[in-house]
Symmetry: C2
Subunit: 382 residues, 2 copies
């Protein structure tokens, strides 16, 4: 199967490209390397040093004999993208190629507009590219559990059967996203759904939870293949960020009361979910939605968990509660379905102390690279 | 009350600006005059000749002594918009300033991307402008009934109470829009809702039905104040288009079986709805949704109705069914709530033969300006 991984140089995209390549998929990567530029813009860096994109591809081929073709360019450049699609004619497109940080989208008006335009136009271009060049191609698009917000009823996988005034229908699940970034994913979902209904495109929208962990068996093979490990306030996410704080001798910083409950998934399961979606594609015209996470956690419980393991490494972090820079409920009902990927064969790696130990070891090994002044939140939602 | 009407040179915006000005509102208009450019691009024209924008403003002041300030510029130009908001400091912003044609948005990839970027960025800029410059300002935003699609349950006004697995919540009504344009309005609605929740902005989203009719008492005062009358396949809409077809001696062209049922509203009620929304504003933080239409019609019934009145003018149009250029259900359940504007005092002008006669008279008076080769649909959804 020929697969194009958009955003294949990023935190999820890179391990996914390697995972697929290792399993015999014929992989090409499209990436504009924007994620590396945002590090420069924000004065941050990955805790693990990451090799230049061409070096990554070369090393992978040296070690495995498998070639991943790399295209450096921007999804919002339609002419360029159409050329790539003509050349590659993929059977599947895995689309990670978006600005994916909620705080980045909330920096100011310019970043909000950039995030929405970048994400929407890139996805529209892919949709038109599929329609015009590879109509049989299956789109596997990364959404986010954050599209749903925190409703007071169970969250289902994309759709909900509503009974109302004596009638019923199965309708798209209502969305209450919590940032300009999360909004962009909701817009994408509506756009993709329309193109499936109207043009018969086959698409799977993977509403992914918060990803934790860093390495996969493939990225761990060699330092040149290492994955990025974001610890800063803008691109770092819960758990990974707590681990970095512990390694740096910093307090573990929970936003507000920390009762915010979310779905979480290990990076090792992310790559497997993508593979499962590709080998069990959606039908033509189908807009299929899977909730891609394996466990729910309240943020304060994750901090407590890291604090409990850290003393094994001689660390004694305190868990502190900061004024919440975001506007969100800090105590709420949360129960989200996530059975469809399990039905396709996902065997979840649940969070255990061994994984936290592995992350703490990594963080301690590179702790000189943790930028302590980039741990506290600098972006306010208000 | 100081009101800024964005898109105030257009089909709904111009009569609204005059209506508000006539009733003592202190009105300014923002418009980039794009609608006039799209006529040039598409080789079409308004059936009624429309005067240049500055002439319209001058004539209104001559006739009434009331001054409407005009700003020609683009809502996607944030710096310019912020300057206007600093100068005007409006109490209310009425936002018609978007690309509003579904067929235009479906011409090709470029027009789809343009429509979504133009509409989303303009609205985001207004939202940031309100947040940063006039936080008390009430946003009155034009949405569309087309955001809802044609679900198999009753359509409510923006929200629906959902009972699910023993729990319940009031959530945004699920959206199934039918074109790249309608999608852009759904994206706007989600963006505005977020800004209300997060920043405390007060907003009213008016999900308007298909507007018919042309003149209001103010636009009819003088030929220089005449409103536009679109009859072409791209910007013309049901009823007005059927009238133009009848006047041109053309068949009345129903798309598909014509069982497509939609909410409709007269332009005289549009302007009154905006006034009602302004004088009864939303609360800070409230995202209020009204369904702005007065009656439901199936498209074929409107064609039949025009065909029934036309013989009074010596016209004998046939109603014909064309292959549907759109992808939409042609027979479906449709029952949409529309009580909230009535509760605020709207007294609907329902469709009657007198209105059809008035439109036929107008169309016959200017029938040499009807471009017969621009009546049949040229844009396909597929």
């Amino acid at each position: 199967m020929r697969v194009l991984v958009c955003g294949g140089d990023g935190f999820c995209g890179w391990p996914t490209a390697l995972h697929l390549s290792a399993r015999g998929f014929d992989v090409a990567i499209v990436d504009n390397l924007a994620r590396r530029e945002w590090d420069v813009e924000l004065g941050t860096q990955s805790l693990l040093p990451i090799a230049p994109f061409p070096d990554r591809l070369r090393r992978w081929e040296e070690l495995t004999g498998r070639r991943i073709r790399g295209y450096v360019g921007d999804l919002t450049d339609a002419d360029w993208l159409m050329d790539v699609l003509q050349k590659e004619r993929p059977d599947g497109i895995v689309h990670f190629g978006e600005q994916r940080s909620a705080p980045y989208s909330m920096i100011d008006r310019k970043h909000a507009v950039f995030t929405q335009v970048n994400n929407i136009v890139g996805t529209l271009n892919i949709l038109y590219g599929i329609k015009e060049i590879v109509p049989e191609c299956h789109l596997v698009k990364l959404g986010t559990m954050g599209e749903y917000g925190t409703p007071n009823i169970d969250i289902e996988e994309g759709y909900i059967e509503i009974h109302h005034k004596g009638r019923s229908d199965v309708l798209p699940y209502p969305k209450q996203p919590g940032s300009m970034y999360h909004l962009s994913k909701v817009h994408d979902s509506h756009n993709i759904h329309f193109c499936c209904r109207t043009w018969g495109i086959a698409a799977t929208d993977l509403n992914q939870g918060v990803v934790y962990g860093v390495q996969t068996p493939e990225t761990a093979m060699d330092p040149v293949l290492y994955n990025r490990f974001d610890t800063d306030d803008v691109f770092g996410t819960a758990l990974n960020r707590f681990v970095a704080e512990a390694a740096a001798g910093h307090d573990l910083t929970v936003y507000g009361r920390g009762g915010q409950t979310r779905g979480f998934i290990q990076i090792r399961d992310t790559v497997r979910c993508i593979e499962l979606a590709l080998v069990h594609p959606a039908q033509p015209g189908e807009f299929r939605v899977f909730n891609q996470f394996t466990e729910q956690f309240a943020v304060r419980d994750l901090a407590d968990r890291v604090a409990r393991v850290a003393p094994e490494f001689g660390l004694q972090p305190r868990v502190v509660h900061l004024p919440n820079p975001r506007v969100e409920r800090e105590e709420h009902y949360y129960n989200a379905a996530h059975t469809r990927l399990i039905e396709l064969g996902l065997e979840p790696h649940l969070l255990d102390d061994a994984l936290i130990r592995e992350l703490l070891e990594l963080a301690l090994r590179y702790k000189d690279r943790i930028l302590v002044d980039k741990l506290l939140p600098r972006v306010s939602w208000r």
